[in-house]
Symmetry: C2
Subunit: 297 residues, 2 copies
């Protein structure tokens, strides 16, 4: 079977089944970052992201912005776990015909974005490649037992996003976005998010990840979904690369969260005791296919 | 300036200068793995390796062996630091036309090699790419203050390698080698290696890394350099991808190390109070250019 028949999700699912979960591993494959035991107070977060020219960014994009994006995408994974980023490893596959100036500018973009979030690039690898490939592996930390996975959403919980969705790729948002680390830290400190993910595959696909592992369903309201400029509802539902937080909290925290003066969070629906995702558009109920979404193939 | 003019070493050197070393970082860019502070007893090791089809392995290579190699290359970095590997993150860039069976077999190779050394694959990323790209990021641990860098070699120290060198790529050794984790653990437990590196760029280039950061020179003996089957001296000096340990120990430990019954180590020379690397071939002294070596460009 060819991979474009299996699809990325199918592939990952198939591979996951064959990987043994190790000792010391609190959360393995299938979350935004792995969670591993370090000592009694602290757990380690490990995440990796590969970005490829022509897929995740274009050759014509400003190199500093490419650098920003590759670091921010990994920082966003740490944010989604409720953790603090610490150290990054950068592997570069570069075309020998590429210019040193461009690679340096990409590096500058990476360094400046990492520094902004107190993250240090501590190592790397540089190899020859037919197309520009950048892999960022990130190490972060979280107080023991406090990481937020995708599996804690419970019926009745409210569903939130941290910002407008859709049209990220076309608008260039995907190159300049800020990872939601401050928002995540605020949530973790003041509330009890029951599940969290960053929207990279698209709202519907990522909400699909949450309800699948949380063994529940979701109801979302068309009128409540915040749209990025230029985005239609379908973009917000399926585009991906928004890098906003999607999270659930107990309904009892709704009022306090909505009244907070620090960050704007958007309540878009509820977790329900059912299967799948239902979109309410006025009086219409539309069942959404959550295995659809941003496809890397 | 194009990258193939700057060369990988030039590139990395240029980039390194612009990267600030962070707090908590004991060893940053420029060693086999970064060393970061975890707690009073333990330090973390972080390393990343990108392997690309057509550069580090061929499309015709057995997929299980490709999997073996990508994990072993990173395990070898942890061995070179005197540490213990724990968790791996695997990013795959795959051609959508590639077969699922092949990717699964590569994964099987990775899992079986990782398990053998008590290392768990805890996360990953899968993206579309024009050529197969595999990135392995590895997290390991070492008792605080006990990591072995490249910078501790001192004049008078003896230089050793852990096995025969040269002809690794052609002979297929680079696909099936065992990372020298047992040898490393034995050395760390029973001796005091002053510097260590794994030979990936070639004996001369990697010895060059040690003497450069150790601010010393080296004398090696042609007659003492162990050759892999089919290898000539020039292969052993420059081929690369041997993944043997190259290390230095105080001369006073020579006798005990050579008489050990557990592992065969080969003494090939001494660290000297000078610059550069000199090869002694009978009565001839040949100055070796140590910025030469296995080039990824």
């Amino acid at each position: 079977m060819k991979l474009n028949q299996a699809g990325e999700f199918g592939l990952i699912e198939k591979l996951k089944r064959s990987i043994p979960k190790g000792t010391g591993v609190k959360r393995g494959i299938g979350d935004d970052a792995a969670v591993v035991t370090l000592d009694s107070k602290c757990e380690g977060l490990l995440t990796t992201d590969m970005l490829i020219e022509g897929v995740h960014f274009n050759k014509s994009d400003a190199p500093e912005r490419i650098g920003n994006k590759v670091i921010s995408a990994s920082l966003s994974d740490i944010a989604a776990m409720g953790g603090t980023p610490k150290y990054a490893l950068v592997s570069l596959g570069v075309d020998p015909q590429d210019s040193l100036e461009r690679i340096k500018a990409i590096y500058q973009g990476m360094i400046s974005r990492a520094s902004k979030y107190n993250t240090y690039i501590v190592g790397g690898d540089t190899v020859s490649s037919g197309q520009l490939v950048i892999n960022v592996a990130l190490y972060g930390e979280v107080p023991a037992g406090r990481s937020i996975g995708r599996n804690g959403a419970r019926s009745g919980d409210s569903i939130y996003v941290s910002g407008p969705l859709g049209n990220s790729f076309k608008s260039g948002h995907h190159l300049v976005f800020e990872p939601r680390l401050k928002e995540s830290a605020y949530l973790v400190k003041n509330y009890r998010p029951t599940s969290m993910i960053d929207i990279s595959d698209g709202l519907v696909a990522d909400l699909g990840h949450i309800i699948t592992v949380s063994k529940s369903g979701a109801r979302i309201y068309q009128a409540e979904i915040p749209l990025r400029k230029g985005a239609r509802l379908s973009n917000a539902l399926y585009d991906g690369e928004d890098f906003e937080l999607l999270f659930t909290i107990p309904k009892s925290d709704d009022k306090r969260l909505c009244q907070n003066k620090k960050f704007r969070f958007y309540k878009i629906g509820q977790i329900i005791n059912a299967k799948g995702i239902v979109l309410l558009e006025g009086n219409r109920k539309i069942k959404l296919e959550h295995s659809r979404g941003y496809r890397h193939f």
